[in-house]
Amino acid sequence: MPWDRNQMAARAARELQDGMYVNLGIGIPTLVSNHIPEGMTVTLQSENGMLGMGPFPYEGEEDPDLINAGKQTITELPHTAYFDSAQSFGMIRGGKIAMAILGAMEVAENGDLANWMIPGKLVKGMGGAMDLVAGVGRVIVVMDHTNKHGESKVLKECTLPLTGKGVVDLIITNLGVMEVVPGGLKLLELADGVTEEDFRAATEARLV
């Protein structure tokens, strides 16, 4: 049985290491914070200008001056630090953020990533996604392996406009885990009950 959203998030959380500074995208990546192992310190960045992002506030404790990159109300932690957006993206571009965990529309076997724009559809903008994938130490994509038509989202080449070229390091889907290596993708792990045959059938990219 393929992994559900929580299982994918849990698998992504296994990539975390103690002391890491991490940026989590919207959607499944946000769930990763629920799976940080006990005793491990992972500091979450919110790219609008904060390190040490805490959970959502309790009702009545929302602060309009304290939001995350998805514009949701959040809270601070004892080790929180605030800074401006130029500084925030300075640390992203400068490689100080060890890892970003992001959603995607398409990933290609060379690490190309598309997750911001579908031509002909409403385009809202890339926000900080291009900066993140270009700058952080390691980019992990978490997404469904196929789209709603059953077509592979793990491709030989992206068909959508790119967010970044050759930027993805690890792909976690509902079917398994792949590493971007020279020449293609290396299958590292299958979701429980998914056969390699199933996996290959759902994957357009070259598996090496």
Binding site: G49, E61, P64, D65, K71, Y82, A86, F89, M126
Partner: protein, 234 residues
């Protein structure tokens, strides 16, 4: 020299002109210069280019300036929380330059720091790189991005003294310092004016040198995405 003005209208008097480039602080609806936006709506100046990470919502923030059709072009990283914006954009009435969020912040900071151009790997190999100079450093490709030199900066801080030394609160800081730095003229609105000497000189986020005019006022500080968790049962 007095920097403190009585109202947004007074502070904006003499600095607005049609076709100007305005840099605005704020992220979403957080830390936006609410009062100055209202003042610009009232002043009616038009054909504006506005560099701001977002474009507000229909009835709040920069959305108000869009509703009155005063904006010709937005320079933003993420828009579309705003139906009127999308209508104008899709109908071709409004120009839009998408700029990656970090590139936008750095372009403002660069303009403020007298840097006309810098190289970044953000956007290499994407549509963002189209038409931009590419240069190799140590075997890697980077694109040239330009500093933003705005005619006017409008920003919002939490507290300032009368010389314009300002501090921001939590994530409301966001684009406000870089936006403040890149304007020929910078007008700041704050929630509170404190006596000069009462701010810790080590804790000032934006020195008063960047601030030419200053107003104090009431802020709505609307929340865009109210998200809460449940109290655990005791």
């Amino acid at each position: 020299m007095k920097k403190l003005y009585g109202s947004a209208a007074e502070a904006l008097d003499g600095v607005l002109f049609d076709g100007m480039l305005i840099a605005s602080g704020g992220f979403g609806l957080c830390g936006i210069p609410e009062l100055l936006i209202d003042g610009i709506v009232e002043a009616g100046v038009k054909d504006l280019t506005v560099a701001s990470n977002n474009a507000g919502v229909d009835d709040f923030g920069l959305g108000k300036l869009l509703a009155t059709r005063q904006v010709k072009k937005m320079m933003s990283s993420y828009v579309g929380e705003n139906a009127e914006f999308m209508r104008q954009y899709l109908s071709g009435e409004l120009e839009l330059e998408f700029i990656p969020q970090g590139t936008l912040a750095e372009r403002m900071r660069a303009g403020g720091a007298g840097i006309p151009g810098f190289y970044t790997k953000t956007g290499v190999g994407t549509v963002i790189a189209e038409g931009k100079e590419v240069k190799e450093f140590d075997g890697q490709e980077y694109i040239l991005e330009r500093g933003i030199f705005a005619d006017l900066s409008i920003v919002k801080a939490w507290k300032a003294d009368e010389t314009g030394n300002a501090i921001f609160r939590k994530t409301a800081r966001n684009f406000n310092p870089p936006a403040a730095m890149c304007g020929k003229v910078c007008i700041m609105e704050v929630e509170e004016i404190v006596p000069t000497g009462s701010l810790d000189p080590d804790a000032i986020h934006l020195p008063g040198i960047y601030v030419h005019r200053l107003i104090r006022g009431q802020h709505e500080k609307r929340i865009e995405q109210r998200t809460v968790r449940q109290k655990e049962a005791v």
